[in-house]
């Protein structure tokens, strides 16, 4: 080992564009013009999807105008429908803010925001039908909000109190809401990607007309189940949309670590023989359009599709994380694709359907609404002021029927 050669192979180690103390730097990102890409036919194959996988579908330009073929494809979305989306994004952000605060006050053990990524879930959910199922990660609460999930249940889960449909069993943010198309979230990254494929296979086998959507973070695309998911989707071609939320970070790890030498996550999916698109995830209209297209393709039986949503994780990874230790403080502000709420606001104002005043008003309203529910939910117990839950409930639901050894353990509990 001692006679090291000076030339020859060395390992590469991916680095983010900037570290703390340096200036945020996204200059090397190649951000295509809004409106540059056309709308492929729904039955497109992976080979033909190349420009969409390497490029980026964008609708809103810097002036907030909806431009290009995808703007046409989205079609005449009413002001009201766009405002609904806006409100859901704002609601998601308000919930995130309040829950983050609650965690800081010790009222819950953990929280995790999706700041900057709200457009993706909100826009996507709007294109689904009842019966369709998302297999979300912990950062897709925007899907739930857009599905109209009662805030009481959503917050009850965070506080693990009697509003919690999961009876306190799961870590905050690991929701489960079948009726709202939200599969039980796993804390283990990746696992659910291939489950989404299995669910979609069941849809195809039973011809129920429903579709499934897998979700995964950029970092978690490194996991084995990402591969399993793409592979089985490629082999059986069930009605599934495989979403990749590339928010540039995986806790402290820059997205380059999982991307390696690949061009884009979408292009890696394309290697599996699955058509793939890359989309500006901070552009609500692009999300609406691409989700509409993908849902139509998949539901019609043209096979799976992969979508890389290009975005940025504005907040800390979770309440256990401190991003100032690994990235420049101003990086979020420098993100070239801006903020999804701001961009939709600009568009709506440009359209004449919105104003700064109405926006501020709505924000206040939503905060109020969220705060009211929060108060009510907190009155049923928080971590600083917990209301006892039966310890016997731990042993319930491990099996459909409680087997003898669990009955013995319950007796042992003395409850």
């Amino acid at each position: 080992m001692s006679e090291k050669q000076q030339d020859g192979p060395r390992l590469t180690f991916p680095h983010p564009p900037a570290r703390p103390g340096e200036r945020a730097d996204f200059s090397s990102l190649d951000i295509p013009e809004a409106g540059a890409l056309d709308v492929p036919p729904p039955e497109i194959d992976s080979i033909a999807s190349r420009p969409y996988a390497n490029g980026m579908i964008r609708v809103l330009n810097d002036a907030g105008e909806a431009v290009g073929p995808w703007a046409d494809y989205v079609g005449q979305v009413s002001d009201e429908a766009l405002l609904d989306g806006m409100r859901d994004m704002m609601r998601t952000r308000a919930i995130d803010t309040r829950m983050l605060n609650a965690q800081r006050q010790g009222k819950t053990s953990f929280y995790l925001q999706c700041t900057g990524e709200e457009a993706i879930g909100v826009g996507f959910q709007r294109q689904l039908q009842a019966g369709d199922m998302n297999f979300p990660t912990y950062r897709q609460q925007s899907l739930l909000v857009a599905a109209g999930y009662p805030l009481e249940a959503l917050m009850g889960q965070i506080y693990s109190n009697d509003f919690d449909p999961l009876q306190g069993r799961q870590l905050p943010i690991m929701h489960s809401a079948r009726d709202y198309g939200y599969f039980s979230v796993s804390g283990n990254l990746g696992t659910q990607y291939v489950q989404a494929v299995g669910w979609a296979m069941a849809n195809a086998l039973t011809r129920n007309g429903q579709i499934a959507a897998g979700w995964i973070g950029d970092g978690a695309t490194a996991s084995n189940d990402y591969h399993s998911g793409l592979l089985t989707a490629s082999t059986y071609r069930p009605p599934v949309i495989l979403n990749i939320v590339n928010n540039q970070w995986a806790i402290s790890t820059y997205t380059g670590e999982a991307l390696g030498g690949a061009r884009t996550y979408a292009s890696r999916a394309r290697g599996y023989g699955i058509p793939a698109l890359r989309v500006d995830g901070n552009d609500y209209l692009a999300v609406l359009g691409v989700a509409k297209w993908a849902v139509a393709r998949v539901r019609a039986g043209h096979g799976p599709v992969a979508i890389e949503w290009f975005t940025y994780r504005v907040a800390a990874h979770s309440t256990s994380d401190d991003p100032s230790a690994y990235r420049p403080k101003d990086e979020a502000r420098s993100w070239p694709l801006g903020d999804p709420i701001e961009r939709l606001k600009t568009h709506l104002i440009a359209r004449g359907a919105w104003s700064e005043e109405r926006h501020a008003q709505t924000e206040a309203q939503i905060t109020d609404e969220v705060r009211t529910v929060q108060k009510e939910v907190e009155s049923h117990g928080t971590l600083v002021d917990p209301q006892p839950m039966s310890s016997a409930s731990i042993l319930k639901g491990v099996y459909a029927e409680m087997p003898p050894h669990l009955i013995r353990q319950r007796q042992d509990m003395g409850v």
Binding site: M133, F135, Q167, Q170, Q195, N224, G397, E401, P404, H405
Partner: protein
């Protein structure tokens, strides 16, 4: 029927009875599986019910979980238990937990079949007995039959079970009983009463052990191939042992075990898996706690050695009737 035929019959019956049942795994479809357990089923029920998969055990489990959660009753095959490890994450962290973590919002009624155990010169990657890796996992059920009759009834009950079941098939028993004497000419199941298997539907409830031999001198706990090794060792030693075939390892039929050990006061545990932290440890812990005041001797276990299953030293590794007899002697002497 052989055990292979009995398993096939169970799947056949369930495919016919319940359209939610689907069968898949590596080489399982067109070919009918490397042990031919699913032979003819694709032809009979079509590719949508019985199909081949890519070689990815975690994908097999993951697909099964998704299908099960969406209301189907998948029965998947892992080609050898030795290849379940890539699926271990999906099985233990997902299948076993979905009902509990979602508070019943989603459930996971699936069965995963896998051939287990040695005795076929399969070497270390075709001989493993990983049952203890499943019995440690709350939310799973773990089954291992030792006869064609039980295999069919238990597999039907597993497929019908509302929770995930790991179904371990002692491959050395696929074609006939085996008492550990590899020099003897092998017997088929046709000669054995438990080879008499009805064509139609029947089930054997999970969680119930079967007393294979009544006896007063000691209790032998065994499952799979080791049940026949126990029978042979009892014949060889002439000790009046009670032999219990556990059949379901999780949940365990502790009542049947307790009644027996309280009667005999002595207990021997047999398994083929490596000794340390094997399922034998669990059995002993439960028996000594439940029956301490009745025990007249330490409980002894006879197991595989703590090493990978070697190819050439197959019969030195396999805990055959001689070692079982030594175990009986140790329990009886004490």
């Amino acid at each position: 029927m052989t055990m292979i035929e009995a398993l096939r019959s169970a799947m056949d019956v369930m495919l016919a009875r319940d359209e939610r049942v689907v069968i898949f795994g590596e080489d399982v479809g067109y070919f009918g599986g490397v042990f031919r357990c699913t032979q003819g089923l694709q032809k009979k029920y079509g590719e949508e019910r019985v199909f081949d998969t890519p070689i990815n055990e975690s994908a097999i489990a993951g697909m099964a979980i998704g299908m099960a959660a969406q209301g189907m009753r998948p029965c998947a095959e892992i080609q050898f238990a030795d290849y379940m490890y890539p699926a271990y994450d999906q099985i233990t962290q997902e299948a076993a937990r979905i009902r509990h973590r979602s508070n019943g919002d989603f459930t996971c009624p699936l069965t995963i079949r896998m051939p287990t155990g040695g005795g076929i010169y399969g070497g270390q990657t075709h001989s493993q007995s990983p049952e203890a890796l499943f019995t440690h996992v709350a939310g799973l059920k773990v089954v291992q039959p030792s006869t064609p009759y039980d295999a069919k009834g238990l597999l039907i009950a597993s497929i019908e079970d509302p929770d995930p079941v790991i179904f371990l098939e002692p491959k050395r028993l696929y074609n006939g009983p085996f008492d550990g004497d590899h020099t003897a000419t092998s017997q088929g199941w046709a000669q054995h009463p438990a080879g008499d298997v009805p064509e139609e539907y029947y089930r054997i409830d999970l969680g119930k052990a079967s007393v294979r031999r009544e006896g007063a001198a000691l209790t032998i706990l065994a499952y799979g191939t080791m049940v026949f090794v126990a029978e042979r060792a009892v014949r060889d030693t002439g000790v009046d042992a009670e032999i219990i075939d556990l059949r379901t390892l999780l949940p365990l039929d502790l009542e049947t075990i307790r009644a027996s050990v309280e009667k005999t006061g002595r207990c021997l545990v047999l398994h083929e898996a490596t000794r340390t932290s094997g399922f034998g440890g669990e059995l002993i812990a439960e028996v000594q706690e439940a029956c301490f005041w009745h025990l007249e001797a330490p409980i002894v276990r006879v197991t595989g050695w703590d090493a990978p299953y070697p190819h050439a030293q197959e019969w030195d590794y396999f805990p055959g009737p001689k070692r079982a007899a030594r175990g009986i002697a140790r329990v009886m002497e004490a």
